[in-house]
């Protein structure tokens, strides 16, 4: 099990409301003629922490990229925060400003300082006054423990610091849902922990999170539900304890034995 996670959250302290945050029903997606997502049904309630695992090419990244419409789905419905994702660009922008996303390769804006990276969207999308946006940004930079880097450019930071800035940048929009697309896959082992710690803190505060990751330690410590995908389908979903100790599907067992076996 990964040593990067040293603490786990107490499920009894966490509240998951009945309110639905994301509703995906009978969703299908093709890349050309390749059927990449097949008949996905997924309901996420507010306050849930979901980890999506699976072999590469199983469609897990594509699934969360559909949730903020970085990818378009061709059949079925996706409703985020009560707004259905259609080709209506206004709805898409609205959903995107309510859903934060953290990428594998950080995707910070290299021509802007850390602070400008964090204030850009609040100022231009939310129309927050600059001063207020900067104050909020400093708050979140403190939360991810790098306020002293505010004046630097992303190219001057380490990978772990960049990813924490990326998390702060998303949080500055005060999103209701956070999506993480393999946030630690491009990081050195020494830096994975600092990013996971930030994410655990976020989970403790009750953020609705969907996280695609290979960090099974994180899944056990944080998730209330683990989803296993293969060949574009949801093969198994369960609470972390049963998922890791008592998986039902043969495919899941094989996957777990491969990633936990060594």
């Amino acid at each position: 099990m990964s040593e990067a996670v040293t603490r786990r959250i107490d499920p009894s302290q966490m509240t998951i409301s009945d309110e639905v945050a994301i509703e995906v029903s009978s969703m299908n997606k093709w890349f050309g003629s390749f059927h990449v997502l097949r008949d996905i049904d997924l309901t996420v309630h507010r306050g849930e922490r979901i980890v999506i695992a699976g072999p590469s090419g199983s469609g897990k990244s594509t699934l969360i990229r559909c949730i903020n419409r970085l990818e378009e789905h061709q059949a079925g419905r996706i409703v985020v925060d009560g707004i259905e994702l259609t080709s209506d660009i206004k709805n898409i922008d609205k959903v995107r400003s309510e859903v934060g996303m953290v990428f594998q390769h950080f995707n910070l804006f290299p021509h802007l300082t850390v602070l400008e990276n964090c204030t850009l969207a609040p100022i231009w999308v939310r129309k927050t006054p600059r001063r207020q946006a900067e104050a909020t940004a400093m708050e979140y930079l403190e939360k991810v423990k790098i306020p002293e880097q505010a004046g630097k450019y992303p190219g001057q930071l380490s990978g772990g610091q960049q990813q924490r800035v990326a998390i702060a940048r998303s949080l500055c929009m005060q999103p209701k849902i956070m999506l993480f697309d393999e946030p630690t896959s491009a990081l050195d082992p020494e830096m994975i922990k600092e990013v996971l710690d930030t994410m655990i803190e976020l989970a403790e505060e009750g953020m609705t999170m969907i996280c695609v990751t290979h960090e099974m330690g994180f899944a056990q410590a944080v998730a209330n539900r683990v989803i296993f995908m293969d060949q574009g389908q949801i093969v198994e979903q369960n609470n972390p304890h049963d998922f890791f100790h008592n998986p039902r599907s043969e495919r899941t067992k094989l996957f777990l034995s491969q990633i936990l076996g060594h």
Binding site: M101, F103, H105, F109, A121, G155, Q156
Partner: protein, 484 residues
């Protein structure tokens, strides 16, 4: 402990090694010579060959330069002086032609009593550019503006500008420099107004014309506000339409009527009088200023998802890049007259500027498209995922980075375009290289003089183009963000 042999299986280090400076090897000129000029037999051979070529060139041209004559009234007189001073059969350059005709190389046939107007226009051009190109520090802007003011006034002094015009120019230039010191932000307003001021100074005529052009922008704004109440989407279209209709349909007449009511203005100068570097710089600056935004729009259009927009952009770019600039200039000078209603006076310089702009914009679009393609897809996705709409993402995230990547290509296009302005000689305009030189040679005194004018115009082109190149390198350094 540190001397432990690697053959001992167990090894541990108690103290980490501190960094040390590299060993001092032989240094200085000898080392440089050996490494760069004589590192091997091939390198040595090439060095000797290079030196031989340089010697050949210098030995052949040196006496020609050394025997230059600067004071003479004609080529014949030049030759007499050279023969008298350096002996029969000696060669020498006759730069006296530059001394006598340099103002024509600069201004063409612009009325000499009005030389102050293009000079002031050029000085103010630098003022208008200062907040855009020289905004890094107050100090750089100060150096540029003071140097411009001094150079402008010095040229005016040399050219014997009337005292009143000199005083006016001095007040304007010094005022602008002081303004830049006190309220640098106001300079941007001046930059926005400069196209009107520059055109008014160069061509003169009624003051009502630029005022009516401004009125068009005001009317467009009014239209935008009024329609904006109904639909924000339509408002932009309405604003642009109102402005264009006013400019095309009414500006000329309105300016004429107002001029009759209240004559206001300065001596008008026809386009035929423009020539030399005044013409090249006018076309070049207008072309540069217009081709960049048009090129950006074309590049974005070419990468757009909308089939029709993409197709139109591709057709436009490939067509314009596929024909020689001269053919476009011929279209401007000859064909447009057939299509325009008889009697319309569509200024020849304006027509040439349009064609040069269109030509440069097509190249610009491809250069910028290269920059856009070089950006990682993640930048687009990050901008999208934050909820930025298309135009905001382009303006704040994509274009600043893409344009920075494209700076070398953009400036190359600018330099190429500026040099191509000499091609206007083929539509009867007096470019500095051929148009003015032919005119100078048409005078019996300077018949047969070729090298000296070419060297002179070539040197000025080189200075301007080299400055652009150096500026682009400075800009690249200034925008560098990833140095630790």
């Amino acid at each position: 402990m540190s001397k432990t042999s690697t053959r001992d299986a167990a090894f541990f280090r108690e103290t980490m090694l501190p960094p040390e400076p590299p060993p001092i090897r032989e240094a200085g000129a000898v080392k440089w010579l050996r490494e760069n000029l004589f590192s091997g037999p091939v390198n040595t051979l090439l060095t000797v060959l290079g030196l031989a070529i340089i010697w050949f060139l210098v030995s052949h041209f040196w006496d020609w330069f050394a025997h230059s004559v600067w004071n003479a009234d004609s080529l014949a007189q030049c030759r007499e002086i050279i023969a008298a001073t350096w002996g029969e059969g000696a060669r020498g350059a006759c730069f006296a032609v530059i001394r006598e005709r340099w103002h024509q190389y600069m201004f063409g046939f612009y009325p000499p009593s009005l030389y102050w107007r293009p000079l002031l226009a050029f000085g103010l051009l630098m003022v208008a550019l200062a907040p855009i190109l020289f905004s890094e520090t107050q100090q750089i802007r100060r150096i540029v503006l003071v140097a411009t003011t001094v150079a402008t006034l010095l040229f005016m002094q040399v050219l014997g500008v009337p005292t009143a015009a000199f005083l006016l120019s001095a007040i304007v230039m010094i005022g602008a420099t002081i303004l830049a010191e006190r309220h640098a932000g106001w300079l941007l307003i001046f930059s926005a107004l400069y196209p009107l001021i520059g055109v008014f100074l160069l061509w003169g005529g009624t003051l009502w014309a630029p005022l009516m052009v401004l009125a068009g922008i005001g009317l467009g704004w009014l239209g935008w506000r009024l329609v904006g109440i109904v639909s924000p989407m339509l408002a932009v279209v309405a604003g642009i339409l109102v402005t264009l209709i006013w400019w095309i349909g009414f500006t000329g007449e309105a300016a004429g009527d107002l001029q009759n009511l209240l004559p206001l203005g300065i001596t008008s100068v026809q386009s035929e009088k423009f020539g030399g570097f005044l013409l090249a710089i006018t076309i070049g600056v207008a072309g540069i200023a217009l081709s960049l935004p048009i090129g950006i729009i074309l590049a974005l259009a070419r990468r757009s998802d909308m089939f029709l927009v993409t197709s139109l952009a591709v057709i436009f770019i490939e067509f314009i890049r596929g024909v020689p600039l001269i053919s476009l200039l011929f279209v401007a000078s000859l064909l447009l007259n057939y299509f325009l209603p008889p009697g319309t006076d569509f200024d020849i310089i304006l027509r040439v500027i349009i064609m040069v702009t269109v030509f440069a914009a097509a190249y610009m679009a491809e250069v910028i498209r290269g920059g856009l393609a070089a950006l990682p897809k993640g930048q687009y996705e990050a901008a999208d995922s934050l909820g930025l709409d298309y135009w905001k993402a382009q303006r704040l995230i994509i274009l600043p980075q893409a344009l920075k990547i494209s700076i070398p290509g953009i400036v190359s296009t600018f330099i190429g375009m500026f040099k191509d302005t000499t091609l206007v000689t083929f539509v009867g305009l007096f470019d500095p290289l051929k148009g003015i030189s032919d005119f100078v040679r048409a005078n019996f005194a300077w018949k047969g003089i070729y090298w000296e004018p070419f060297i002179f115009t070539g040197a000025i082109f080189f200075i301007i183009c080299f400055s652009m190149s150096r500026y682009s390198m400075y800009l690249e350094r200034r925008l560098q963000r990833d140095n630790r």
